[in-house]
Amino acid sequence: MDFNQHLSDILHLYEFSMAIGNSLDYTGNCNHFLKLILARKNLSSCWIYRKENNQYTVTYSYPNPSKKIVLKNKNQILDTLVLGIKSKIVSVDTTIQEVSPIDIQQEGSLLIFNLHDQGILFLYSAYTDTFTPKDISQLQPIMDKFILSLEACESFSKKEDLLQRLALQNQELNDYAHIISHDLKTPLRSIDTLLNWIEEECSDSLDSISRQYLLKIHHNIEKMDALIESILTYSTIDKRKKTNYTIDLNEVMREVFKILDIPNHIIIDIVTPLPSIIADTLNMQQLFLCLLQNAINSIEQATGKIYIRVIELNHFWKFEIEDNGKGIDSKYHKKIFKVFQKLENDSMSLGMGLPIAQKIVNHYGGNMSLTSNVNRGSIFSFTLKNNDMNLQPNLEYVNELSGGDALFKQKLIGIIKKEFPEEKEIFLHNYKSSELNKAAENVHKLKHKIGMLGLDDGYQIAIDFENELLAGKTSLFQKFMLILDTIDEFIHPL
């Protein structure tokens, strides 16, 4: 064999090797690699059998399977084919034809590779003398790499499935809370309407005791309504679709003051100007509303004072809401954050305000704590991230996928570096051409790379933006572009 032939062989192996792992999608990965093998070796077809639950199924086939194989009682044939071997060349016989998902000629031959947990790969040639031991020895290391790439595809697919299932479950819980809320509120409104009718129709015949009873029923209906609403709020804080913008908390506070019924003897003092943060306006309103209402309720003194302070920590804002109310004994400090837990028998208190506040804070990656002295007052402290988006990409997931294989890791990074700018460009083209449905498809593809680079918040924004585009809206464009630009900067030097 001459030097050129050796060189040609080596370069072919390089070509095969570089075709592996070009996609994290199982079929895409197989297409890239196996179709190349078929083309370069002039083979007719290939397929992969994989064993799960003691049963073989075809997980990949090119061309498409041409017949349905009933593999019951034939598992043993496939088991025997790869028993104790890494690879082998076989001539086609009737047994092989029986288990082949593609019609193959008897005069052909097969090169079989044991892919271990990833199954068995069959490469089929219509000729008997195509494969030689040299093919086996040259292709075996390539196949070992192919196995690793299939494992990476599997791992990626599991993560995708998990994320999809979680999204579905979140949606179901969200829907469930709304349905329950609607189903409970409907009869409540009917009762309220009927009571009003009774009051109007029988106004002359109702005595004062009956009127008091009716008033109590009205109060209880209102309480029940508020209770249902607060349960819905509590259960959907982390499931409601967030619309995060940069919001000025001073503005938020002005809205909260309009809603709150602040008694004349209580003064609320914003000691330090509040910052602007990236968050959902409604969530922030709810948070301050709950905490300030709690502070107001705690004040029994003739002059009540509530102070609101904020300081900037490393990556966080720390807020304090201090009151000079009756204070809370330390033994109740945990209890008050549990739903429906009240410290005294206040008939109009629902025991939901502080749990809602804490859940909002946790949802934004912060913590809440309480310092209190009985009869002297309390300080509720909580933190919020000074930007809600984790905009620092990382390679943790890429490292996990590559399982310590530096070459494979570089390959994954290579895919991202190659595909990301292309996908971004196509997205921008479609977006600027107002092809929003196509742009949504592009966002769908881009989000996988955003997720791979550890931008969990960015991944969520991509999901929201994709849905938004499908609905013909574009409000998240700037935020999405910020994520894309950050990734651009991150991957460029890799």
């Binding site: 070509e15 179709k35 083979l43 041409s66 195509t130």
Partner: protein, 364 residues
């Protein structure tokens, strides 16, 4: 049958008389002055089943025509489909219920100037696999201006392919005769049909340095086509001739634009054409096909237009040789063909898109 009339009523009457209610394949030379919409409408009014393409030139026996129509009657047509939107990959290949123990062959003509031809062929093979043999080529204009060029009873289309499934066995001979002068090299960076880097260096620089060893002519952006037509790339394959890829242009970035896709990291040779070798290979392709053919009544020759541009006057020798081999072996009712922008075939292996190659199919 060959018609050089441009009058629709004469053309249609000729087709009607010749076809005898069978489906006809119409190969139309691009310089023909024919109102194609009117032709299609009139053929439809006469209930004639047809399909075909517009090609740079058409072949009828030993003659190459720049104008006119070659009509090929097909006796075993099972189905004809038009596949649209190939450039956007927004298409699906129809399902066929292949009968057991029956031979099938597919004739397919695709807009040779559309993108994603490899993807189309890949999907075609994915769907039909080894149930059938495949044969065809790229239609379109030698001017390389894309325009509607494949047609059937539904109309004429651009960015599309026509698919004719026949219940008959087809024998195929494929050869090109281009010889390796350098390589192997690796197309380390490509974008579909554009080679951007070879051996991690500027593609044009590498190509130019290889050609310098063989020719005194200094290749540049202006004379690129004239020189490069004699030095195509070969995609190296095992057990068979390489697949030729024709570089037709370069740009200021030093990228090489080819007819047909070159995947990233493809191992390439640089080839050179010599008249004798090309003409001999065409004869070999004919010999290969007739050695398999038995009682075939039709021969169809798909020859690359770039072979004509390279061989110039000598192309008539290639065509005469091929037809002589076919005629000497057996009596064909029809020996027809077309010069194409790329050729398509599979022979017990992967379905490929060729350049600068001759593909000969024989069938009943």
């Amino acid at each position: 049958m060959y018609i050089d009339s441009t009058q629709i009523n004469i053309i249609v009457q000729s087709i009607k008389d010749y076809s005898k209610n069978h489906t006809v394949l119409l190969s139309i030379a691009e310089a023909s002055v024919i109102d194609l919409d009117l032709l299609i409408n009139t053929l439809n009014k006469n209930n004639i089943s047809f399909f075909g393409g517009i090609f740079p030139r058409v072949i009828h026996n030993k003659t190459l025509h720049e104008k006119g129509i070659v009509i090929t009657t097909l006796h075993h047509v099972n189905d004809i489909h038009i596949i649209k939107n190939i450039a956007s990959k927004d298409f699906s290949i129809p399902t066929i219920n292949f009968k057991q123990n029956t031979s099938y062959s597919i004739l397919t003509f695709i807009d040779g100037l559309t993108s994603n031809i490899s993807f189309y062929l890949s999907e075609l093979y994915r769907q039909y696999g080894t149930h059938t043999s495949y044969f065809g080529g790229g239609a379109g204009s030698l001017s390389l201006q894309q325009q509607p060029c494949v047609f059937n009873n539904e109309g004429i289309f651009m960015d599309a392919a026509i698919l004719c499934i026949m219940e008959t066995k087809m024998h195929i001979g494929v050869k090109h005769g281009w010889k390796k002068i350098d390589g192997p090299i690796v197309a380390t960076k490509t974008d579909r049909n554009v080679i951007q880097e070879i051996n991690w260096m500027n593609a044009f620089d590498v190509y130019q340095s290889i050609l310098k060893k063989d020719t005194d002519q200094n290749i540049n952006i202006d004379n690129f086509f004239d020189i490069a037509k004699g030095y195509p790339f070969g995609i190296v394959k095992e057990h068979t001739e390489c697949i030729v890829r024709d570089p037709i242009a370069t740009n200021e970035k030093g990228e090489l634009i080819c007819v047909g896709e070159v995947l990233e990291n493809t191992v390439l040779d640089v080839l050179k054409g010599e008249n004798d070798s090309l003409i001999m290979s065409a004869k070999e392709a004919a010999n290969n096909v007739v050695s398999q053919s038995n009682n075939c009544t039709n021969a169809f020759i798909i020859d690359c237009i770039s072979r004509v541009l390279f061989l110039e006057d000598q192309f008539s020798v290639e065509l005469t040789n091929v037809v002589n081999v076919l005629e000497n072996q057996q009596s064909f009712d029809q020996i027809h063909g077309a010069l194409t922008l790329g050729e398509i075939s599979s022979y017990n292996g992967f379905l490929e898109f060729f350049n600068k190659t001759i593909v000969i199919g024989t069938f009943k």
